[in-house]
């Protein structure tokens, strides 16, 4: 299981600013290990960020997103104390969901 995400959501003048860091190797499948064997591809393909069951950002990622993907975006309509939820799924079908409260 991948490490927990780091999610920061901060409300400022009606706009919630969100940073999400998802620990993940994001292996492209092009690299080789020390013994010269190819390392198989393993990367997050789909990310969904939601508030009260409503999606505020959906992302489809490829292997070309850097290791430990970072997303930064903003949305309107969040309130302090509400829970923001982030879900991802990767090429192996592994998933992770984490939540964070919107800070004022």
């Amino acid at each position: 299981m991948a490490d927990p995400m780091r999610i920061r959501a901060r409300l400022k003048e009606g706009v919630t600013e969100v940073h999400v860091l998802m620990p993940h190797p994001m292996e492209t499948g092009f690299r080789k290990d020390d013994a010269g064997r190819p390392i198989s591809a393993h990367y997050i393909t789909d990310v969904q960020i939601s508030l009260r069951g409503r999606t505020v950002l959906a992302a489809t990622l490829s292997r070309a997103v850097s290791e430990d993907p970072l997303l930064h975006f903003r949305f309107e309509g969040g309130r302090a104390g509400e829970t923001l939820r982030v879900d991802w799924v990767d090429t192996r079908g592994e998933r992770r969901s984490d939540e964070a409260q919107i800070e004022a």
Binding site: V15, K32, G53, R54, L57, T60, L61, R63, A64, G93
Partner: protein, 227 residues
């Protein structure tokens, strides 16, 4: 999206061998949407996508409901890249970002992510580059490490719905797609891998039109191999 591109994509879908299409139809792609289907709006959209699909797509269009049921018992793990891409594609059924049916949109996105050329990816998406000052793309002029290149896309276009990021020299140039619902700023910032010095493109879809921005970046150590 224009009629033109839709027609072109239809032609392509029809040309594909039937065996492959069947295979996709049988795949339990929409399974991962179960959780989301609980939300009222997406559920309604998914339903529409399933029922309103043209007859030509029967095979694929009919897939969602039964596939989802089977899937409850089965595991959700995609074993191959193709399956994984199908899962991604399935996500598009929910936002319904494209005027054509979800099944086709999913397939086109899958093609785009699997395309080895920028042109191929754009074609699969049915979009074209159209430089506009209303799309702003920030990428460093020089980066030491191509494995971590900060990218920031901002748009002033009203009704921006989708942001795509491409890195021209990558083995698979389409890097990411962001779907921007109403209420979310047309802005996204992330970090990508860039194989070698090349152009990075941002493309924003707004109200059926596409606008782009380009920025060249010079990479000292490429972001693909062992380095």
């Amino acid at each position: 999206m224009s009629d033109w591109s839709e027609r072109r994509l239809e032609g392509r879908a029809a040309a594909r061998e039937p065996a492959r299409l069947e295979g996709r139809a049988a795949a339990p792609a929409p399974a991962r949407l179960e959780g989301r289907a609980a939300a009222p709006a997406p559920a309604r959209r998914e339903h529409r996508a399933a029922t309103a699909a043209p007859a030509r797509l029967e095979g694929r269009a009919a897939a969602p409901a039964p596939a989802r049921r089977e899937h409850r018992a089965a595991t959700a793990a995609p074993a191959t890249r193709r399956e994984a891409l199908q899962l991604i594609g399935a996500a598009l059924l929910v936002p319904g970002m494209f005027p054509w049916t979800g099944a086709r949109a999913a397939e086109n996105l899958q093609l785009a992510f699997g395309s080895g050329s920028l042109e191929g990816a754009l074609q699969a998406l049915g979009v074209a580059l159209d430089p506009s000052p209303k799309v702003r793309l920030a990428v460093p002029d020089f980066v030491d490490n191509g494995a971590v290149v900060p990218v920031e896309v901002t748009s002033e276009l009203a009704g921006a719905q989708t942001i795509f990021v491409f890195s021209e020299a990558n083995p698979f140039p389409l890097v990411a797609r962001f779907s921007i619902p109403e209420g979310t700023d047309p802005y996204v910032s992330t970090r990508i891998k860039v194989a070698e010095s090349c152009n990075v493109y941002a493309l924003v879809q707004a109200e059926g039109r596409c606008f782009s921005a380009v920025k060249h970046t010079t990479v000292t150590v490429g972001g693909c191999g062992n380095g």
